[in-house]
């Protein structure tokens, strides 16, 4: 089960991910986060405090957001990532791609 919220501010996007982002939920989440794929130069801050689980399909969504942000010259920050998910990021090498808070 996933809950996804986007808040568009003047200079950035605030995203909240809550729940388990498994392959089943990925399609819907991708659709919701579609606008972020081209953030038009705005930073994207993703609050992952309540993100309990992420599978490779979820990781792919994050990569797409990152590619778009980089193309626009902005960054993607992941906030409050849990240790378990940080391990997954380490295994896939994502740990060096994103910024964390």
């Amino acid at each position: 089960m996933m809950e996804t919220r986007i808040e568009q501010l003047q200079d950035k996007f605030l995203v909240t991910l809550e729940g388990e982002l498994d392959t089943a939920a990925a399609a819907e989440v991708e659709q919701t986060l579609q606008p972020l794929f081209d953030s038009q130069g705005k930073d994207v801050i993703i609050d992952c405090e309540k993100l309990e689980y992420i599978a490779s399909s979820g990781l792919r969504i994050l990569i797409s957001i990152l590619k778009g942000a980089k193309a626009g010259g902005s960054k993607v920050v992941l906030k409050s990532l849990s240790d378990d998910i940080k391990d997954v990021f380490k295994l896939t090498g994502f740990i060096s791609l994103f910024e964390f808070e």
Binding site: T23, Y53, A55, S57, I63, K67, T92, G93
Partner: protein, 744 residues
């Protein structure tokens, strides 16, 4: 290498120096000997010269004397006739003429009477008969006031002595018209009163002829001088130049010129050094009248001609000897060098052997590196021969399968060792991307055929044993057929050669098609692989160990332990060889399949459709199972993730798009290992051979796929894929100790 070549050249130069020293000493000795010989020969020739010269002088003197004596005799013997016809003055003409005609030696004969002896003839009456230029005898009366012979020395001398005497040659314008030696004597009448002077002139020409033939040396000549050094006889001007003759004369007459008595004392010796020829003059006084001096001149170059020739010969011989010696020394040095080179070569070969055996030793799996897996016992042994042979073997485990190979490189020494090293590396590399023995073999063959000018081939056997199922896939490339032994009971075993096609060794034809074969190993079976070092081991009687013996050996050997088994075979071979030298590498590899019987404490299944939406069901399922096993964070989410990724992979790729299919999931645990077994009946798809994502790439560079498999590999301990009965079976394994399992 450099050090030894320097040492080599130093040694050879030392020997060369010794050799040269010997040659130089020998040459000096020879030179000394030849010098001594020269000196003695020179002395000898000098003695010989003196002998010859003096005998020449003696002989020529005798010849001259005898001619002079003849002339003397002619005149003396005619005295009675002259005396008898004294009263007939005109008879003198006839007498004179006859006397001249007597011998060509006589140039002229004359008789000069006392003044007014014949009153009718006047005061002066001298009849002279001579040979003229034409050789005719003409008689003349030469006495007259212009020629008052009574005042002349010859006349006076003759009257003074009562006998005849020879007078020095004087220039006689009237009579002989030349420089001639004369013998004069008084003529006595019956009353023994001297009434006239008779003279006989000897032809210098004739005299010269007698002495100017036959020379002791080619340019030698005789010179006859008067007592006071005036020339009498000499060589013809054609032969010896006037200048030379005068020069010699001068030498004899000049008292300042040094002269020595000869060794015998019979002559005097003058050495002269003139350009271009040096020489020696021997001269002596002729005994008796006319007290002439006779000299012989000899040139050094002719005297010592033979010596000089000898000298040249000696020099040539010396050079030849020198050359021969040099040649011998050079040969000796070269032989030494060859010997040294041979020794070096031998050392090099030995060195190579050491390198080769080091290569082999380093690359073989050490006992520690052999995989320690509970499902198999592995024992490998390689006993190299002295001339390292190029045997190889390798065993490693990957994704729940045991990959192994055994091989034999053709040839020996370093080249074989290098190919062996390459083949090992090739196997490890290729077998980590493919679990299909035929594919592995084909790729190895292709790689081995590349850059293989010497056509070094390798016999090889490649096998892949699937540990969960015992499924053995293999491919042979010209190698010894392995033997598979089944233990029926502890004492009864059955050994059979594996049903393997021979095919061709790798490295020969790069498009050869290799076929895979398969069988199944039962628990307890031992697969025994070996190289021809075993079958072709010889004993001292040159008998082969042979395959038969190997088969029989298998049947009698205890195969309950791989290590014991190999040890036994090694011992039996070495006993068979009985001290004979090992000619080839001996390699043995025993693989015993000992799968543990699974005693499961958990065995749960779930079937899903190939729809990612059903992942929710999967998540619930796995959460429940893990909770039962009391597996919590941080392991539980990881296991869940691994399972999800693997299942999603199958869902997305196993079945063609649009097709509905099933995916079976089974979770088991035997208390030691947790297994996820995912089955589907889709297309044959091996996720373990998909390249995993490169985690070092940047975001832009990342390709889309590969993450899932990466996560599965990282999170689980091993992945095993098998295709069995038309189904893909993927087994994920994690070593997790479960103490207890809560039952549902």
């Amino acid at each position: 290498m450099k050090a030894t070549s320097t040492r080599l050249s130093f040694l050879s130069s030392l020997k060369k120096r010794k050799g040269l020293l010997i040659i130089i000493t020998a040459a000096l000795l020879l030179e000394f000997l030849s010098g001594t010989q020269y000196y003695f020969t020179h002395c000898l020739l000098e003695k010989e010269l003196e002998l010859r010269a003096e005998s020449e002088l003696t002989m020529k003197a005798i010849l001259i004397k005898s001619n002079l004596n003849d002339a003397e005799e002619v005149l003396n013997l005619s005295m009675w006739k002259i005396q008898a016809h004294l009263n007939v003055p005109d008879s003198t003409y006839i007498t004179m003429r006859r006397l001249v005609s007597f011998s060509p030696l006589i140039q002229g004969v004359g008789i000069a009477f006392e003044p007014y002896y014949y009153p009718q003839k006047g005061k002066w009456f001298e009849v002279y008969a001579r040979r003229n230029a034409n050789g005719e005898v003409e008689t003349v009366q030469i006495g007259g006031p212009e020629h008052d012979y009574t005042q002349r020395d010859f006349y006076r001398q003759a009257f003074a002595s009562e006998r005849g005497s020879w007078i020095d040659p004087y220039f006689d314008n009237e009579g002989a018209k030349g420089l001639i030696p004369s013998y004069v004597r008084p003529v006595f009448d019956r009353t023994n009163t001297a009434v006239a002077v008779a003279s006989i002139d000897v032809s210098l020409e004739r005299l010269t002829d007698t002495i100017d033939n036959r020379h002791i040396y080619p340019s030698s000549f005789i010179l006859v001088l008067t007592e006071d050094g005036k020339p009498v006889l000499g060589p013809s001007e054609e032969r010896i130049s006037r200048a030379t003759t005068e020069f010699v004369m001068q030498l004899i007459n000049d008292s300042t010129v040094t002269r020595q008595p000869s060794r015998s004392g019979r002559s005097k010796v003058i050495h002269f050094d003139t350009d271009p020829r040096d020489g020696t003059v021997f001269y002596a006084n002729m005994k008796g009248q006319p007290h002439w001096q006779i000299a012989v001149v000899c040139y050094d170059d002719e005297v010592f001609a033979s010596l000089n020739k000898l000298r040249v010969l000696m020099l040539l011989l010396l050079l030849l000897a020198f050359g021969v010696l040099l040649f011998l020394v050079w040969r000796f040095a070269r032989d030494e060098k060859l010997l040294q080179q041979k020794i070096l070569e031998q050392e090099r070969t030995d060195g190579e052997l050491r390198i080769a055996s080091n290569i082999q030793r380093t690359l073989l799996p050490e006992d520690e590196s052999l995989p320690r897996i509970s499902d198999v016992q592995i024992e490998g042994r390689l006993i190299p021969a002295k001339a390292v042979g190029g045997d190889l073997y390798n065993v490693f485990e990957r994704d729940g399968k045991l990959f192994f190979c055994i091989g034999d490189v053709s040839g020996k020494g370093v080249p074989a060792a290098i190919i062996m090293a390459i083949t090992q590396a090739l196997f490890r590399n290729i077998a980590s991307h493919s679990h299909h023995p035929a594919h592995i073999m084909e790729q190895m063959n292709e790689a081995s055929c590349r850059n293989n000018k010497e056509n070094i081939f390798v016999t090889l056997f490649v096998g892949v044993l699937d540990l969960p199922t015992g499924r053995l896939r293999y491919c042979n490339a010209g190698h010894e057929i392995p033997i598979i032994t089944s233990t029926i009971t502890k004492t009864i075993t059955s050994s059979l050669p594996l049903d393997a096609k021979p095919n061709l060794p790798i490295g020969l034809f790069n498009d050869f098609k290799y076929e895979m074969q398969e069988t199944t190993m039962q628990p307890g079976d031992t697969l025994f692989l070996y190289t021809d070092g075993l079958t072709e081991a010889r004993n001292i009687r040159r008998e082969l160990f042979g395959r038969e013996r190997v088969m029989r050996l298998m049947e009698t050997c205890d195969t309950t332990d791989a290590k014991a088994f190999v040890d036994n075979i090694v011992m039996k071979v070495q006993r068979f060889a009985d001290g004979a030298e090992q000619s080839d590498d001996l390699t043995l590899l025993a693989i015993r399949y000992t799968p543990k019987e699974e005693k499961l404490i958990l065995n749960e299944s779930l079937t899903l459709h190939n729809d990612v939406k059903e992942v929710t069901t999967l998540s619930a399922f796995i959460k429940e199972v893990l909770a039962r096993l009391e597996i919590g964070k941080p392991l539980a989410p990881k296991l869940r993730l691994a399972l999800e990724e693997a299942v999603v992979n199958v869902m997305e790729y196993a079945y063609p798009t649009g097709t509905k299919g099933e995916v079976g999931i089974r979770v088991t645990s035997d208390g030691q290992q947790l297994k996820f077994i995912i089955t589907d009946s889709g297309i044959s798809f091996n996720p373990t051979e998909v390249a995993t994502a490169d985690t070092t790439l940047s975001a832009e560079e990342r390709p889309v796929g590969g993450l899932g498999i990466l996560l599965v590999r990282e999170l689980m301990d091993s992945i095993n894929y098998e295709r069995t009965n038309g189904k893909n079976v993927l087994t994920l394994l994690k070593n997790v100790k479960i103490i207890k399992c809560k039952n549902e």
